[in-house]
Amino acid sequence: MKNVPLTRRTVLKRGLASIIAYAAAPNFFPASLFGQGAPSNRITLGLVGNGLICNAHVGVLLGRPEDCQIVATCDVMRSKAEKMRARVGAAYGKLKDSGTPSSGPDIYATHEELLARTDIDAVFVCTPDHWHAAVANAAMKAGKDVYCEKPQTLTVREGRVLVETARHHGRVFQTGTQQRSNKSFRKAAEIVRNGWIGDIKLIRTRLGEFAPAAQLPEEPVPADFNYERWLGPTPWRPYNALRVKGDYGGGWRCFLEYGGRKNGDWGAHHFDIIQNALGMDHSGPVEFIPIGHEGCKYQTHVYANGVRVERYDGEPGLRGMIEFRGTKGTVWVSRNDLFGSDPAELIARPLRGEDIHLYASEEHHTDFFNCIRSRQRPISDVEIGHRSATVCHLNVIAAQVRRAIRWDPVKEEIIGDPVAARLLDRPRRAGYVL
């Protein structure tokens, strides 16, 4: 980042008004964001991974040219990167008076080349899960802030590495658990946190299921696809289009080599909200029980205070994606602001000054950009994302070894099961160290 003199220019687009007492106040103003004219106040972005979710982000980012400018993109499939460049270039080309250049972002074949640019402030990491940690880690060490898609990591140990790097380098790291920035999910968590439904006994959440990972015949690798690099740190497998497909209904998400299946996919969202509601953002459950173990009907994880979280995909269905059951009531919440409670008036009950107010973010990207400017920790800070991803991974590990595992969230160790403990990390293929 260029080192320009400090000015008195205000960089916060919004004041502290939206940051409730529980959250951190803004700190100071990064020198690189000061300048004489509007373009220098924009956050310059690089994109790594140009698949489905990246395109969703770009749809948002292109709608805020005063906030950010996408200057670089990277994908292991050249045609995807070129489509991204064309899309972004066309959008910027239409912005006549903003000073934004009309050409699209530069394309890079590797994230290392993209990160070597000194004019990039932040990076969106939108690769499959198995690349999240390596790209995010390298980005932070190169002095960039990071928005990393969920789940944050593929293994538990990767998450702790990311936390340490973020803290040592003072980087802003937003995990892509955007449900935290939704007011209904936040209010549901505040209802729980403030004890309005009493002591929580049971939480149920619906994750759905992917098809089993298929055995796939080898196919020719497309000419513009660096499949070797797509595999990255994971064990070699022959190429097949279904293996690498970025499909919300399956594709690479079906394979434990690249992600945590539904535990990593939807669990990363719902377990994260549950962690927030229970005040467990810097801790976690202590036991993980796979479905069918000793008669357990549902995949379950248990907190030290006895709260059970069941993965419930059965009938009758839940009233919401997450349902909190307390001794004095119930609250349920889903996306699209589907939100209800029993007693019914709880969802409209205002918070008092002395109540617990959770960090209020009105929009996940906005929060990220504000935190880049203010240098405070965002709503889904790296530690929070790591702890939530850990819940996902430990559920996967329990299912892999087909027995209950006990977890020490302070030491971050599996207790009394050396086989399961081996699964907290994975050896990486040559050329792809973390």
């Binding site: 003199p5 020198a31 060490k141 000054g353 240098r375 070894v401 086989v419 081996r422």
Partner: protein, 468 residues
């Protein structure tokens, strides 16, 4: 006796495992597109073994036997190595290098090294450490770099001399890997190698020094970080060194020195560090120096103190809320809402909030709504009941903003207040707080209001309550 039981159990389990393998003889011929049943059989054996050392030992031997078979496919060897990595070395029997055949040869083979590392990297033990060391000398390029990474993860101290030599390797990637490994191995011999390289050092060496610095004794760590801060080639490393220095150094002298300087990137780091600083009396020290800094630095320090939420900052921040510079005033007003609340703070904020609808009055109002402290709610209720009108209006608004349901009786009582401004404010506040049961009262209030503004507010309140 344990030993015969151990071997008996192991023998029995071996028979079972052999039966499983014999029933599904195609594991060795596994390919990526064929039936996965052979893998499922292997995994059933794993689940059945649980954490029983005898059963795991038997499984371990069975897997190694599978690896030794000459016709085992790459896919099968990959699965076998992966599963072996889960169980290798968990039996009480000490393994020898011969027991681990063919893994030592695989480890040094460019094609098979990744497979061997799947099995060996997770398993502790000096015998396996030796295999890695041997393979390190037999390999080059990517294979060797991967072994270096495994050596770091395994914390193989015996590799330090070899890594020290590789620090000067002609291949930059190898040299960087060696530096990284030395930074991760938690032994003083590894640190000594890195610390012997003077600054400005290659980027990988500087990064490795940053990684090891927190593990050093306090005095050594501070010296290393000070050296990096002053002389590292990459500004990213210089800033990271400063950040670590401020985390480890309880003295606030560095913080004050940086805040007084002109290095803006360093100032950012210093301001960030205030939040988590362990330095005793840092807030009083900052508060004492606050007015000596330029306005921008003052504003930034105020915001940092607010983030920390330390009551020791309140007096200085209150004083800054009357600063001649607008930015300092605004930041101070915002900050007051994050600091522990006192009656004095509440009074100051109320007076500013009572001003014309300026940015400062709005900010003061927001801070007041957020302010937390003993007896504040009671003071707000009391202030709403009597006193100067413009202040009473602010307090009445705060009853709603702060969700003070206990203020409902007072709001209803204020319907008969002689001051129309007070009445209008009270009915607006009712609109935010009152339950549906009070609808009739509010309707009546609207009907009987004689002032147009008061009536309009009562009607709006009625709508709010109804919609709620």
């Amino acid at each position: 006796m344990l030993r015969p039981t151990f071997f008996t159990a192991g023998f029995v389990f071996t028979l079972i495992a052999h039966a499983c393998f014999a029933a599904e003889p195609t594991l060795s011929q596994l390919d990526y597109s064929g039936s996965p049943l052979a893998v499922e059989v292997l995994d059933r054996g794993l689940y059945a073994a649980g954490t029983d050392p005898a059963k795991l030992a038997a499984l371990e031997q069975r897997i190694l036997a599978g690896l030794r078979a000459s016709d085992t496919t790459f896919a099968a060897r990959q699965v076998l190595c992966q599963r072996l990595g889960w169980v290798l070395g968990l039996s009480p029997e000490k393994l020898t290098a011969a027991d681990l055949k063919p893994l030592p040869v695989m480890l040094a083979d460019e094609r098979d090294s990744d497979l061997a590392r799947l099995a060996l990297e997770p398993a502790p033990g000096a015998v396996i450490d030796t295999l890695f060391l041997k393979a390190l000398h037999q390999t080059t390029a990517r294979t060797r770099i991967a072994l270096i990474d495994s050596i770091a993860r395994r914390q193989i101290v015996a590799a330090v001399p070899a890594l020290a030599k590789l620090l000067a390797d002609n291949d930059p990637a190898t040299a960087a890997a060696a530096a990284r490994a030395l930074g991760l191995i938690t032994d003083y011999s590894a640190a000594a190698v890195l610390l012997a390289v003077p600054e400005p050092s290659p980027a990988a060496v500087a990064a490795a020094k940053l990684a090891l610095a927190p593990r050093l004794a306090a005095g050594s760590a501070l010296a290393v970080l000070a050296d990096l801060r002053g002389r590292a080639a990459d500004p990213v490393h210089r800033i990271a060194a400063l950040r670590l220095l401020l985390q480890l150094d309880p003295s606030i002298a560095t913080t004050l020195e940086v805040l007084e300087g002109n290095d803006t990137a360093a100032k950012q780091v210093a301001l960030e560090s205030i939040y988590a600083s362990r330095a005793p009396q840092i807030i009083p020290a900052l508060a004492a120096k606050l007015s000596t800094w330029d306005a921008f630095t003052q504003a930034a320090v105020i915001a940092a103190m607010a983030r920390r939420g330390d009551a020791a900052a309140t007096s200085a921040v209150l004083k800054a809320s009357a600063h001649e510079d607008a930015k300092v005033r605004m930041t101070a007003l915002e900050a007051l809402g994050f600091l522990p609340g006192t009656i004095e703070t509440m009074t100051a904020l109320t007076k500013i909030a009572a001003g014309n609808a300026t940015a400062e009055s709005k900010t003061a109002k927001a801070s007041l709504a957020r302010l937390n402290g003993p007896a504040l709610n009671a003071a707000i209720l009391s202030g709403a009941e009597r006193g100067e009108t413009i202040l009473r209006v602010v307090f009445i608004e705060q009853i709603a903003l702060r969700g003070l349901n206990e203020g409902l009786p007072l709001l209803l009582k204020l319907r008969s207040d002689s001051d129309v401004t007070v009445r209008a404010a009270a009915v607006s506040a009712l609109g935010e707080l009152a339950p549906p049961a009070d609808n009739k009262i509010v309707l009546d209030w609207a009907i009987t209001a004689t002032d147009a503004n008061e009536q309009a507010r009562a009607l709006r309140a009625l709508v709010n309550i109804t919609l709620r």
